[in-house]
Amino acid sequence: MKRVVDVSIPLGPVHPCWKEPARVKCETRGEKVLSAEVELGYMKKGIERIMRGRPWQEVMFLAERVCGICSVIHNMVFIEGMEAVSGITVPDRAAYLRVVMNELDRIQSHLLANFSYCYTIEHETLAMYLLNTRERAMDCMERIAGVRVNKAYMIPGGVRFDLRDTDRALLLADLAHLEDSVHRYGRMFDTGPLIATRSKGVGILMQEQARIARAVGPTARASGIAEDVRLTHPTYRKLAFTPIVRTEGDNHARIMLRFDEIFQSLGLIRQCLHDLPAGPIRGGGTCGAGETVSRGEAPRGELSYFIRSDEYGRILDIAIRTPSIPNIDACTHHMLPGVTSLADVTSVFVSADPCIACNER
């Protein structure tokens, strides 16, 4: 089919708005985007190839380094997969601490995503507020695990470090502060008139389109699909988790959904800290042979690891499916076509929170 196209505009791979190298090619007529295509391959390191033949203590670090922003969930899903394969049970205290760490990571990832969006629509004040708030979440994690990014917190059979009572009190104080600031900035975003012109009704992803593209995570939940892998996770089920859903499906809904999920995560952490049972943090147990698919809800959506291991717990075969793959597809094929201004292309792309490092590994 022949189409009339004015200009085909490439954005990237090095672009002031992209944090990572990716090229988005937009076919435009005037300012209107007719179709978009994403071109990847700048970040392929072959992590799954490197993982083969290695024991958990090495693969754990490689799994974390699939994505530095949501490293905790990669660690968690891989370790839970190894535990399922080898029949290791986790002490209750460790299971709760894992949820605390995971939700803290989700908070900082969502704050970073919202920062990127505000930065892309040139609302630098709000962006800097959010980035500074994120530092507080990073402090919480640093106090528990001793490091800011790539924490290596979970091991088969438990976690590495316990939560001290002094740190628990500090964590609760920080959570209260986080809630205050996120509440304020969330309201700023929700009611800001200039933000609304850049966000409301831009980059709409309808529910059917989201289903066709198999969108996951906040991108799908902002389009009215109530899917969250945390619903099937045993520890989250104890905490009576229910996903948040919005139906608008535009940029504004996606960002507001992330703000709402931050409050939900704060609630989950408080609940965990309240229910935190006493006891050991490591149960021991060696990894063995088996095959499984382990799933978890990353900040960007459903993450799954297919794992096959040999009798000494070494990885024979591994396949990682990260949430950014369907989300980038949903973004380029369903959100970007029909965008009325080229200036919105970057903000629509960033609002889906694509993680290129996750995507290519």
Binding site: Q57, G146, V147, G158, T286, G313
Partner: protein
């Protein structure tokens, strides 16, 4: 439009904002004491058991070297991930990083490991590099010649009657020196590590 001007005016006329604007000062750039820095040496004596090398997830990050008659681990910056596993795994407490050592004593956490040597006889060339490079073999039989032959039966592995033979697998410390020395990647050491708590070390 007018509404947004008022909004910004309201935002910037808050007392805390004006105070922060006039007296902006970043906190001094300090690293908190609990940060997992590069492992540093404590006063304790290293027994060159190679546990740190065994557990290290990064290639080329840690070496155990002999200098002036004493052994001590050396951390290579640019390779080390600051994961702190070596600090946790070291049975002697030679390394320290952040609060790991203190927490480990309080929680009585440790790592236990077993090792299994696997040789692919189809690709093994019987060159004996693994047997010669093995640090445990070197202690048992310092005379071991370049072919990996030895009269000593206390070594972990040797080349005997034209075949790579593993004699004492239980003596392996999992340092992976043999994997690095093998030209064909025929030898593999499986390290089965488990995290424990409340078990006396040793």
């Amino acid at each position: 439009m007018v509404q947004s001007i008022f909004w910004y005016l309201k935002e910037f006329l808050r007392g805390p904002w004006i105070h922060a604007f006039l007296f902006a000062k970043t906190a001094p750039l300090v690293t908190p004491s609990y940060f997992r820095e590069y492992p540093s040496l404590t006063e304790k004596e290293c027994t060159h058991c190679f546990t740190c090398r065994m557990i290290c997830p990064a290639p080329g990050a840690i070496e155990v070297l002999q200098e002036g008659g004493t052994w001590h681990p050396v951390i290579h910056r640019g390779h080390c991930l600051r994961c702190g596993l070596c600090v946790e795994a070291c049975p002697e407490g030679v390394l320290a990083s952040g609060r790991i050592l203190q927490w480990q004593e309080e929680d009585r956490t440790s790592f236990a490991a077993t090792f299994h040597i696997q040789v692919d006889h189809a690709t093994c060339m019987r060159c004996g590099n693994c047997c010669v490079s093995c640090p445990v073999n070197k202690e048992q039989d310092p005379q071991m010649a370049s072919g990996g032959h030895s009269a000593n039966n206390e070594v972990i592995m040797k080349i005997s009657s034209g075949r790579h033979t593993v004699i004492h697998e239980e003596r392996c410390v999992g340092c992976r020196t043999c994997e690095g020395a093998c030209p064909n990647s025929a030898i593999r050491v499986a390290r089965v590590v488990e995290g424990l708590q409340g078990v006396a070390e040793g």
